[in-house]
Every structure is written in C-alpha cells, then in structure tokens.
C-alpha cells in the first residue's frame, strides 16, 4: 500500500519500476483509453485537463483528421488517452466517424470513456447506445453538470449508472472537479476489465428478428474477430455505407442463401 508515487505531480519520464509490487492485481506497464463523445460536450477540455502538456498531435493515416493523444499519469502508471474526433454517431457517413470507428474496433483499447453533456443527455445517450454495442469496456464521464444545474436540471448519477449498467463519474473539467475520481476509476477499469456491459437496446418486435437473423448470417462471413456481430448487423440496417472494410476478402465459410 505504500505507494512512493502518491503526491507526485507526474512526469513522463517516471515509470513504475519492477520493485514496486502494486496490490494483488497485475497492472500492466501502460493502458490505452479512448475518449469518445459528441462535438461540443467538453471532451477536449477534459482531455486537456487530464493530459496537460503531454500531448501529441498527428494525422490518422491517410486522413486529414487530427489524431490527438496524450498521457495522464495515474498512480505512477502512464495512461495513454486518445481523443477521438467528436462524432454524433458511429455510422461511417463522415470521415470523423469512420476514423473513430476504425480506431475503436481495430486498435487495442483497454477502455472507452464517453464524455457526455449532462445538460443535453438525450442526444449523448444516442451515442452511448452505439458505443455499448461495440461490446468493449466502457464508462461515462458526465461533464457540464454545473451548466445543467444552472439550467434547472439535476441528474441522478447513481440511477443513470444503474440504468445503463456502466460506471459514471460526474466532472466539471475546468474546475478540476471529479478528475481524480475519474482517473482512479479509469485505471481500475483498465486493470480489472469487467465482462461487457449487460445493457442491450431492444429495437422493437419488427426489427429485432431481422437483426437476429442477420447476426446469424454474419457468423458465416469472414469478419475480423474483434468486431461484434450484432453491432455489424445493426449497422447493416442503419445503411452504413462502408462496412466492406471489416470484411476480409478471403473466402467465406458458407454461401449466404436467399431468403425469399
């Protein structure tokens, strides 16, 4: 329990040494966290608050969208945070969405953090459901709680957490509230990844059977293993224009039969 790094403001050159056994779980050398969220929710502010000057900006390969990543030191462990471009949804209609989805599905990520706007929860939840369908470890950072309050809205964070089945941390980024808690929760979630969250959105009695069938059909197609079939099925029915990139051009295992 005696962590010599507690109280240290953090330094990029400081990494945990072998002599520091940490608790009874094995903490890896570093973790990767992806920050997702809609535009204008304060994602960048939160990102900046956590990573400070330890940021890098590059371009995603083959795109002019900026890739912003930084390092936050939490209890001596460096957390690589990637600030994905703000997206309203996860269908590949725009370059930002494509880049975000590619990153979330193809890169090894330990945790997704959705930054959501408390004063505008309905729209953020639209994205939350899609992120949940990615079946990756995820938690939510709820920002602008002060703005919500000023507008006369009070969010019951615990209740929301139960409804969605994920951990939620309330923050006010520019005042530094909730940052420590967020950091701790992030590292805990990375170190002890839970089974994928139980929440699953029911798309209604007409569409659900179709999604089911499509999921089964997809099981015979050679798709990258990291891609959840149900997610793919839903995207097919959302008319996502660029799903080809997830399908390998090698042989499929069985023919897809016509249903009619």
């Amino acid at each position: 329990m005696n962590n010599p790094c507690s109280g240290c403001p953090g330094s990029i050159s400081c990494l945990p040494t072998e002599e520091e056994p940490t608790e009874n779980q094995s903490i890896a050398d570093s973790y990767t966290v992806a920050f997702a969220g809609q535009p204008n929710v304060g994602k960048s502010t939160l990102f900046n608050a956590l990573t400070g000057v330890r940021q890098f900006v590059a371009n995603y390969p083959g795109a002019t969208v900026e890739k912003r990543s930084g390092i936050a030191m939490v209890s001596g462990v460096p957390l690589t945070i990637v600030d994905l471009p703000g997206t309203y949804s996860l269908t590949s209609y725009s370059l930002e969405e494509k880049v975000a989805v590619d990153f979330l599905l193809k890169q090894p990520i330990d945790l997704i953090v959705q930054v959501a706007d408390a004063s505008n929860l309905i729209r953020s939840l639209y994205l939350t459901f899609q992120l949940l369908e990615l079946e990756r470890p995820i938690l939510m950072a709820l920002t602008m709680t002060d703005v919500a309050r000023a507008r006369g809205m009070e969010v019951d964070v615990e209740k929301l957490s139960i409804e969605l089945g994920i951990k939620i941390i309330a923050t006010v980024a520019n005042r530094g509230k909730g940052l420590q808690e967020l950091k701790r929760t992030m590292i805990d979630s990375c170190a002890k990844p839970t089974k994928k969250p139980g929440f699953s959105l029911d798309y209604g009695p007409i569409l659900e059977p179709v999604i089911q069938k499509t999921t089964e059909e997809l099981a015979t197609v050679d798709i990258s293993p990291s891609i959840p079939l149900r997610w793919m099925a839903i995207k097919i029915w959302e008319d996502d224009p660029d799903l080809d990139r997830f399908i390998h051009s090698s042989q499929q295992k069985r023919r897809i039969h016509a249903q009619r």
Binding site: S89, Y93, S119, N120, I122, R123, Y126, D239
Partner: protein, 75 residues
Amino acid sequence: MELEKVKPGMRCRIVSIDPSGMAGKRLLDFGFIPGAHVEIVRNAPLADPIEVVLHQTLVSLRHEEAKKIMVEVIE
C-alpha cells in the same frame, strides 16, 4: 405541413421524415424522429437557414433539408 414552412415562435411535432441521403442520416442522428417536439426559433438574417430547438439543442438546417420533415403544429 413541411417544417420549413412553419413560422418562428411556433411549436410542432414531427409526423414523418425522409431519412434518405446523408442529410437524412444526420437528421436522424440529431433526433428528428416522428413524435419529437420541435420549436422554430428564427430564420437567418438572409432567410436561410433556419434555427430550431430540438431535445434542448439549438440546431440549424437549410430549407432544403427541412423539406424532408413533415410536422403538425401544436401551438
């Protein structure tokens, strides 16, 4: 009637929407779905685009995009 014909200050409820094309998809993302309540705030100084409130968000869209949304006026 079409959303684009509603006057500023009026509130309405969406009856149907044409989800085709990229514009349609964007509209769905923002929540322009049947049953949603929309309030028209204003037209831009040059008449186009229009500004509405939807799910507590201020959204602006062009008249040609608003044509895809059919609404009925509430008050």
